[in-house]
């Protein structure tokens, strides 16, 4: 099965040896647990410089998403995974456009908008 599917690329999550995959789930769970605990700790501690906390949370979240992709969904940059990897890259690109694009546009609109009380007076 694997020999002829290698020639055509692989579906996400297909690997050869189930013992290796079982270990990969355990490794993934280990990393994900540590990163989750770190996130909850970082959000409630006073030890970290306050404005740096959101950046740290973002880094931890992105790291944990990476752990889930690699150890649970078994996405890699191997040659037989090119299709999956390209689709993922395009997905991340669109997600970035939607999220950051919306935030930048709405922020600019907020700056350009007249304060609400003045706007109400103009409408009278």
């Amino acid at each position: 099965m694997n020999k002829d599917s290698n020639a055509q690329g692989k579906a996400p999550g297909i690997t050869e040896h189930s013992r290796i995959r079982r270990r990969s789930y355990l490794i993934g769970l280990f990393y994900a647990t540590i990163l989750t605990l770190a996130s909850f700790w970082a959000s409630s501690t006073d030890l970290i410089y306050e404005p740096g906390v959101p950046i740290l949370l973002a880094v931890l979240a992105i790291a944990q998403m990476g752990v889930h992709l690699v150890f649970f969904l078994h996405i890699s940059s191997a040659p037989d995974q090119t299709n999956n990897f390209l689709a993922l890259a395009f997905g991340i690109f669109v997600v970035g456009l939607v999220v950051f694009g919306s935030m930048i546009i709405m922020d600019n609109l907020n700056h350009a908008m007249m304060p609400m009380d003045q706007l109400m007076q103009m409408q009278r």
Binding site: M1, Q8, T36, S39, F40, F72, V95
Partner: protein, 206 residues
């Protein structure tokens, strides 16, 4: 399968256009992967709406006054553990081991229902205090984003129950194995979305 490996030479020898159609498993997995990515883009739109509206509380309670981090931590633990048990179930299904698969499926189901119950309790608590989706733009965005995730988990649990029934009645034949494989991908993707939810909505609340 042996016939296949004898007649199909290695990838270097045959150009891509002459290799014939890919195996069903590859096509199904890739197609479902594309669906998952488009589903994640739906969530990206909801995350963008939440990021824009999270400060617009209309003099109602802000997120920090509403969310209980301990509660969220146990929700996260349930979903993370269920992701691993779902992975073990998928491995057992690919091995065609009914005895290995069913206990993990049941554990996944229990953890998923626990997560959903905790989320439901949180929503009921907020609604009872008058902080429903109509209270402010912030709460509209919150209920849309977290509710959509909860809806996906609900659909996933129905799917899991259907897969258990199919495994019991049809056996672990190839089509059932492919369906369960797709369910596993769906469940892992929901866990990835939840990382974004607990980081941005719950831990990022000011």
């Amino acid at each position: 399968m042996n016939v296949m490996t004898q007649t199909v030479p290695t990838s270097e020898a045959v150009p891509l256009s002459m290799r014939g159609p890919a195996p069903v498993q590859v096509v199904v997995g890739y197609g479902f992967w594309l669906f998952l990515l488009s589903d994640i883009i739906i969530f990206a739109a909801l995350f963008a709406a939440y990021a824009v509206l999270s400060g617009e509380t209309n003099e109602g309670p802000p997120g920090a006054a509403l969310f209980d981090k301990t509660h969220v931590f146990f929700e996260t633990a349930c979903l993370l553990a269920s992701s691993m048990t779902c992975g073990f179930a998928t491995l057992a299904v690919q091995r065609r081991s009914m005895l290995g698969a069913f206990p993990w499926m049941v554990v996944t189901l229990i953890l998923g229902v626990t997560f959903l119950g905790m989320e439901w309790a949180e929503f009921v608590h907020m609604l009872a205090a008058g902080n429903g989706p109509s209270r402010s733009a912030f709460l509209s965005a919150f209920f849309t984003l977290v509710g959509t995730h909860g809806l996906h988990v609900t659909v996933g649990l129905f799917w899991l129950v259907i897969m258990m029934l199919q495994a019991a009645t049809l056996g672990l034949r190839p089509i059932v194995r492919r369906r369960f494989f797709c369910f596993g991908l769906f469940w892992h993707a929901l866990d990835i979305v939840w990382i974004g939810v607990f980081t941005i909505v719950y831990l990022g609340a000011r």
